[in-house]
C-alpha cells in the first residue's frame, strides 16, 4: 500500500483505506563528533631499569611475548624511554 492523496492505496488492486497514522519517520541524528586532539603522551606500558644499548639511557618500557615453543622462555622486549629504540632479550 502506498500513500496517495492522504489515503493508502493498494498498488495491485487499487483498494483504498483511510489512514490514521499519518507519519512514519526514520530519524538519523547528526553524529557531531569533532576531531580529537591529543595533547600529551599517555604512557600505557610499564617501565623498568635497564641500560639502552643504543643511547645508554637507564630506563625502558617493557613487554613480553611468547614467541616460539611453549618450552622456551618468552622474549622480553624493551623500548627506551628516551630514544624510542626497541630491542629484545632472549633466554
Amino acid at each position: 500500500m502506498i500513500m496517495k492523496g492522504g489515503k493508502f492505496v493498494c498498488r495491485k488492486c487499487g483498494y483504498e483505506e483511510e489512514s490514521e497514522k499519518r507519519e512514519f519517520v526514520i530519524e538519523s541524528k547528526r553524529s557531531g563528533n569533532d576531531i580529537p586532539v591529543i595533547e600529551e603522551k599517555v604512557e600505557t606500558l610499564p617501565k623498568t631499569k635497564v641500560v639502552c644499548p643504543y643511547c645508554g639511557n637507564t630506563e625502558a618500557y617493557w613487554w613480553i611475548r611468547q614467541m616460539r615453543a611453549a618450552d622456551e622462555p618468552e622474549t622480553r622486549f624493551y623500548r627506551c624511554t628516551k630514544c624510542g629504540k626497541t630491542w629484545r632479550e632472549y633466554a
Partner: protein, 826 residues
C-alpha cells in the same frame, strides 16, 4: 576530670586534645573548665562554614581514569552561560536534566552525556586567565563514602570526591597535584575576575502574572509598566537599595533610607516610569526613619525576585548577566544602604541572607574585586580589604560614604592574595636589570610574595631595564585568580550521585561557590579510542615486499606549514577540510515513509566548520544523487513521487546513497586525529590519498608521508618509492626489536626498483623475472612455469645455481666455474 567534661562535647578530637592540654596547664577548676569549653564550642561553630556553603572560587583538578576523577555532590552550585544568560544552578539538577533530555551512554559506573546544546562554563586556563568555555559533556556516577572538604583562608569551601588532584602553582606553571599530597598551607586558585557578555534589558513580564498589552505590562488596577526595562546604573542603584533596606508589598515597594539625597534617586527612578510615590516617617524603631513607597504592582513583583525580607534577600539570575553599569549601580546601592560600612580600613557587608552575600561576592568578581567571607553569629559577612577596597572605591564608589572610602589605605600586608612558587624568576630578573638583590631575596626564600609587593618591585625593575622573566612575573601579576591558602582539610559523609563537567582544553570549570574543577577524563578516552590501528610485524613486511597496491591499513602522517602547525584551531581547520564528510556529519536526516520524502536538517555550525553552505550542499547532493532537491526554510527536502515504479525502494535507495555520499573532504581519508608533537600539531589519518592531501592548503607537502608505497611511486616517482620501501621495512623491523643492517634492506629495495617500476619479491616480480626456467619452476607453481616455457620453446642454459643443482652438475662458481677442454695431440 577534663576527659569527663569533654566527652560529649561536639568538637573534633584534635581540638579537644588542645583544650585538654590547655586546661591541664592552667589547672582550671570544674566551673572554669566548663565555661572555657562552652566558649570554645561557641567560637568553633561561629567560625565554621557550613557544608555546601556558597563561597568563592577554588580550582581543583583530576587526572587519569574516570574512577579517579573529581566530582561534586548534587547541591554544589555552578555558574554556567546558556543563551548568553548566566545561570546559577545546582550541578546535580542540571546534569540530571541533561541526562533525561538528551542521549547518554554508560561507561563503567559513569553516565556520560555529550551535550548537543551550547552551554559554557567558567574555565581557568594555563595562562591563569578565566574564560568561558563550552561544556562538552556532563557526567554523573554514584558515590558512597567520604567527601574531602577544603576550607581556605578567605572562607571559601569546596567539597569533592576524595580521589582527585588539585591544581597548584609550581615554578610559574599551573600543575596538578594529588589530593592526598595537598596539605594545610598549600595554595589553590580562587577566581577574582569574571568575564561576561552582557544584557542591557530585562523582560519584566516573566516576574509578574499581569497581562502584557503591546509593549506594556498592565495590572488590573494601577499604572501600566514597560514590558522591558533598561538595565542602567540608576535601575541597578534602585535594586541595590532595595536589597539593603527594602520590602515589597502587594501593590507597592518600600525602601527605607534616611538620606534625602538617596531618596531623591529612588524618586527619580519612579518618575521615569510615571509611577506615584510617597514618603512615610516611621517612628516604630529606635529612631525615626523615612520610607519611600512606590506604587506599582509590576515593580513590586519584579522586586520580589530579589527576595522580600532580610533573610531571603538574593540576587536573581538575570543580574549575573546584566551589564556592568547596572551591576555597578546595584553594588553601590547596596553599599549605600544601612548596615554596610567602612570600618578599620576595610569594607564590610553584613546580611542575614547567605545567598545574598554569595551573590554579592560573585558580582564583585566582575570588577576584579575579591572579598573574604566570614560568618559572625547569625550574620553573614563579606569583607573587602586593602587594595580590593581601594578598587571598590574606584569602580563602585558611594553617594553617601565616599569620604570614608577615600580614607582606605592599601599598604596593609595582604596575607590572602599572595603569589606562590615563582622559583628563581624574581632574583634572576633582578640580577639582569641590576636591581638590589637584598630587596627580593627574602621572597625567593619564602616562595611567596603579595600581589601588591610584586607589582611595586616589578615596576621598579622595569624602570631599570628589560628581562624576559618580567613577562612571567607579569602574567602572574595579571592572573584572574587569587592563590588562596588552605586552612583546613576534613572529610564529610556522602551517599548519592556525584557530578562532573567535561570542558575542552583546560578541562576546568567554576562553581558558584566558586570551584574551578579540572577533569581530563576525555583525554584518557582518546588514549584508547583515538589510536589509529596500523598493521605491523610480519604481515606488514610481507605487504611491503609484495608491493600490494593498497596496504591493509593505509595511513598518513601530515605535517603542516609553520603558520598552521603551531595553532590548534588552524590545525583542526585543516583536518576538517581533509576528513571525508558525510551528510550525517553535518545534518540530521529524517525519512518520512508515508510522505515519501527525505528531510535533511543541516546544522549551521557544523556546515560552517566544514566550509560548506546550504547552497553548495544542495548542489553537491543533486549532482551526486541525481535527484531534485527543494529548499524549505533552511532544510533540504527530497520528494519521491508516488507514481514511480517501486516508490519505497526508490526512497530507501536514495536514503542509503545519501548516507554514504561524501560531500566534502577527501573520500579516502576516513578519520583524522591530531597529535601534539613537540610544539607542533601533526595530523594522523586513517586512509590515504597523497595526491589530494598534498594540494590541501596549509599542508606542508615536503614533510607529509603515507605508508602506501605504491601511491608514493605514482605521485613522487621511483626514487621516492625506493626510500619509502627502505624506511617502511626498517621501521617495521625495528618496531619488533630486530636489528637488521640497513644495507640488506637497501639491496632488496634496489632490486625491487631497479627497472624503474615497482617489482615485488615473488613470482610476479623479481623471482618471476629469472632467466632460467628450472630456477623459476623450483620456486612456485612448477607445472605452470614448465608448461609456459615449453609452449614458448624456451631454452635453459644452466648458468645459474638452482638449475645446476637440479640437474646434478657442479654450480658455476669457484672451481665449478673453470672449464677445461682437452685436445689430445695426434
Amino acid at each position: 576530670m577534663y576527659d569527663e567534661l569533654l566527652k560529649d562535647v561536639p568538637l573534633p578530637k584534635h581540638v579537644k586534645d588542645n583544650i585538654k592540654k590547655k586546661l591541664e596547664e592552667i589547672k582550671a577548676d570544674e566551673e572554669t573548665a566548663k565555661k572555657i569549653i562552652e566558649r570554645c564550642v561557641e567560637v568553633y561553630y561561629r567560625n565554621l562554614v557550613e557544608p555546601g556553603e556558597a563561597v568563592g572560587i577554588v580550582a581543583a583538578q583530576s587526572i587519569g581514569e574516570p574512577a579517579t576523577q573529581m566530582s561534586l555532590p548534587y547541591d554544589e552550585r555552578v555558574v554556567i552561560l546558556e543563551n548568553d544568560r548566566v545561570r546559577v544552578v545546582e550541578i546535580g539538577k542540571f546534569v540530571d536534566n541533561c541526562l533525561e533530555k538528551f542521549e547518554f551512554k554508560t561507561v563503567g559506573i559513569h553516565e556520560i552525556c555529550d551535550l548537543p546544546i551550547d552551554v559554557y562554563a567558567l574555565s581557568l586556563d594555563r595562562d591563569e586567565k578565566v574564560r568561558w568555555k563550552r561544556i562538552r559533556s556532563v557526567v554523573r556516577h554514584r558515590f558512597k563514602g567520604k567527601l574531602i572538604r577544603i576550607r581556605t583562608r578567605s572562607g571559601r569551601v569546596v567539597r569533592a570526591t576524595p580521589f582527585h588532584s588539585f591544581v597548584v602553582r609550581r615554578n610559574n606553571e599551573i600543575v596538578p597535584i594529588e589530593g592526598r599530597m595537598l596539605k594545610v598551607g598549600d595554595r589553590i586558585p580562587v577566581v577574582r575576575f569574571t568575564p561576561l557578555n552582557c544584557i542591557s534589558k530585562v523582560d519584566v513580564s516573566q516576574f509578574t502574572d499581569c497581562k502584557v498589552v503591546g509593549n506594556y505590562v498592565t495590572p488590573t488596577n494601577g499604572k501600566r509598566f514597560p514590558k522591558e526595562i533598561e538595565l542602567d546604573f540608576e535601575a541597578g542603584y534602585f535594586f541595590g537599595m532595595y536589597l539593603a533596606d527594602g520590602y515589597s508589598a502587594k501593590y507597592f515597594v518600600s525602601i527605607a533610607n534616611n538620606s534625602r539625597e538617596i531618596r531623591e534617586v529612588i524618586k527619580r527612578f519612579a518618575e521615569r516610569f510615571g509611577l506615584n510615590y510617597a514618603e512615610y516617617v516611621n517612628r516604630n524603631g529606635f529612631s525615626e526613619s523615612v520610607d519611600v513607597r512606590i506604587y506599582s504592582k509590576v515593580l513590586s513583583d519584579l522586586a520580589r525576585s530579589f527576595g522580600n525580607n532580610a533573610k531571603d534577600k538574593r540576587i536573581p539570575e538575570f543580574v549575573y548577566s546584566a551589564n556592568k553599569e547596572f551591576v555597578r549601580g546595584l553594588l553601590r546601592g547596596y553599599f549605600d544602604g544601612n548596615g554596610n560600612s567602612v570600618e578599620r580600613k576595610a569594607i564590610r557587608f553584613y546580611s542575614s541572607s547567605k545567598e545574598l552575600i554569595d551573590g554579592i561576592a560573585f558580582l564583585l568578581t566582575r570588577f576584579g574585586i575579591f572579598g573574604v567571607k566570614k560568618k559572625m553569629g547569625g550574620q553573614y559577612g563579606l569583607i573587602i580589604y586593602g587594595k580590593y577596597a581601594k578598587k571598590f572605591a574606584e569602580e563602585i564608589g558611594s553617594f553617601v560614604k565616599a569620604d570614608k572610602l577615600e580614607k582606605i589605605e592599601v599598604n596593609r600586608a595582604d596575607i590572602i592574595d599572595v603569589i606562590p612558587s615563582f622559583g628563581k624568576t624574581l632574583t634572576e630578573c633582578a640580577k639582569k636589570v641590576g636591581y638590589p638583590l637584598y630587596l627580593v631575596r627574602k621572597f625567593e626564600r619564602k616562595q611567596k610574595i603579595g600581589r601588591v609587593t610584586l607589582e611595586k618591585h616589578l615596576n621598579a625593575m622595569k624602570r631599570l631595564g628589560y628581562a624576559e622573566e618580567m613577562e612571567v612575573l607579569e602574567r602572574a601579576l595579571d592572573s584572574d585568580v587569587v592563590w588562596d591558602e588552605i586552612v583546613e582539610i576534613d572529610y564529610v559523609d556522602y551517599d548519592g550521585y556525584v557530578y562532573d563537567f567535561s570542558v575542552p582544553d583546560s578541562e576546568t570549570f567554576t562553581t558558584f561557590e566558586g570551584i574551578v574543577t579540572h577533569n581530563t577524563m576525555r583525554t584518557f578516552h582518546y588514549a584508547g579510542v583515538a589510536e589509529i590501528n596500523v598493521t605491523l610485524g610480519l604481515p606488514r613486511l610481507i605487504e611491503i615486499l609484495d608491493v600490494r597496491k593498497k596496504p591493509s591499513t593505509p595511513m598518513m602522517t601530515i605535517r603542516l606549514l609553520p603558520e598552521y602547525a603551531k595553532d590548534k584551531e588552524k590545525a583542526k581547520e585543516v583536518a576538517r577540510r581533509i576528513e571525508a564528510t558525510h551528510v550525517t556529519d553535518v545534518a540530521d536526516i529524517s525519512v518520512d515513509i508515508y510522505g515519501l520524502k527525505i528531510v535533511i536538517k543541516p546544522d549551521d555550525k557544523a556546515l560552517k566548520e566544514k566550509g560548506l553552505t546550504l547552497e553548495n550542499l544542495k548542489k553537491t547532493l543533486e549532482k551526486k544523487l541525481k535527484v531534485e532537491i527543494e529548499e524549505e526554510n533552511g532544510n533540504l527536502v527530497i520528494q519521491v513521487s508516488p507514481d514511480v515504479d517501486k516508490p519505497y525502494k526508490t526512497l530507501m535507495d536514495i536514503f542509503d546513497r545519501l548516507k554514504r555520499e561524501v560531500i566534502a573532504g577527501i573520500k579516502e581519508i576516513k578519520r583524522v586525529i591530531i597529535r601534539k608533537e613537540g610544539d607542533e600539531y601533526v595530523l594522523y589519518t586513517e586512509g590515504s590519498n597523497l595526491k589530494k592531501v598534498m594540494k590541501v592548503k596549509g599542508v606542508d607537502y615536503t614533510r607529509t608521508l603515507t605508508n602506501d608505497i605504491y601511491e608514493i611511486y605514482e605521485v613522487l616517482g621511483i626514487e621516492a618509492a625506493r626510500s619509502a620501501i627502505i624506511k617502511e621495512a626498517k621501521e617495521t623491523l625495528e618496531e619488533q626489536g630486530l636489528d637488521v643492517d640497513v644495507r640488506h634492506i637497501m639491496l632488496v629495495a634496489d632490486v625491487m626498483t631497479a627497472d624503474g617500476y615497482l617489482k615485488q619479491i615473488g613470482r610476479h616480480g623479481v623471482a618471476g623475472g629469472k632467466q632460467s626456467i628450472l630456477a623459476r619452476a623450483a620456486f612456485e607453481v612448477t607445472v605452470n612455469v614448465l608448461l609456459d616455457a615449453a609452449v614458448r620453446g624456451e631454452v635453459d642454459y644452466l648458468k645459474g645455481i638452482t638449475e645446476n643443482i637440479i640437474v646434478g652438475q657442479p654450480i658455476r662458481l669457484g672451481t665449478g666455474d673453470v672449464e677445461l677442454v682437452y685436445k689430445p695431440k695426434r
